[in-house]
Subunit: 143 residues, 2 copies
DNA sequence: TCTACAATCTACAGGAACTATAGGTTCAAG
DNA sequence: CTTGAACCTATAGTTCCTGTAGATTGTAGA
């Protein structure tokens, strides 16, 4: 009794639209699943994990191409190490930058909420919150 | 000595395309700047900060609508506190979630790089790295 | 088993957020 | 005062979905 399910339940579980799943399949981000005799797609837990990864990564601002790269690490775990290393290091640098920017934004939002509790905010430094040029090595902006 | 500059230099400084800037102006994310006698746009440092904020936030996965909300905090610092508070708190929750997911991804990338140094990666848990169901409103995890 | 109805199918149109191109105007270095 | 880069508006194309149409399938109740 292997657990398999249709596209609707997959969509619900990964918080994606049914159309989006078919689109990902079309562009090769998701493998073509088995079909029922009536031609309907059937999925398993591995498909769910993969889709959730894609959706989370998209939510974090990664392009589908960047995600394709990350997934390639999962798809070919035995490929030469230097290739994996290069991809992982490149992504790691970007991820670290994103974390720092988000933490700056988080701090500023918290500051505003604190000030708010005291009556009203007189100044807002939210625009400055993301402007950390120490990190901003030109050319590393994600799409 | 007010420093002002054209759209090209603004684009370069904020790592955006010239067209994108005009697009943001069109949809009201950037204010309409002054024009030269020959109808060309002139910008100042405040415009640059605002555009950099937008670009960074986009890179972090915020929608233009979410960014519009965040900018509204900057545009109306004297508006009623409960409105500010609501927006800030809602955004803060999302930001925290993003940070945690990115940290999970960061940890997994670091793990892969470490393993790589030892020869080759035999298993890849990168797909699992973003699947923190503690945060996910939908609790659906096949173990 | 039959039937009703939700879920799924393919195909295509539409929207968000850019991005590129065309054809013309302005700015500034020489 | 020329000339080429930068700018202008307008429009069409790209990416990444999202919605709709019309037909088919899966399934639960009579």
């Amino acid at each position: 009794m292997q657990e398999s399910f249709g596209i609707g339940r997959l969509a619900e579980a990964a918080e994606a639209k049914v159309q989006t799943i078919r689109y990902y399949e079309q562009i090769g981000l998701l493998p073509r699943p088995d079909r029922t005799s009536g031609n309907q797609r059937r999925y398993g837990p591995a498909d769910l994990s993969r889709l959730q990864f894609i959706r989370h990564a998209r939510g974090l601002g990664f392009s589908l191409e960047a995600i394709r790269e990350l997934l390639s690490l999962a798809d070919q775990p035995d490929r030469p190490c230097d290739a994996v290393d290069a991809i992982a290091r490149a992504q790691l640098a970007q991820v670290g930058q994103r974390i720092r920017r988000l933490q700056a934004l988080e701090a500023e939002l918290q500051r505003m909420i604190r000030q708010c509790a005291g009556g009203r905010i007189s100044d807002c430094r939210i625009i400055g919150a993301l402007g950390d040029h120490a990190d901003c090595s030109h050319g590393s902006a994600p799409e």
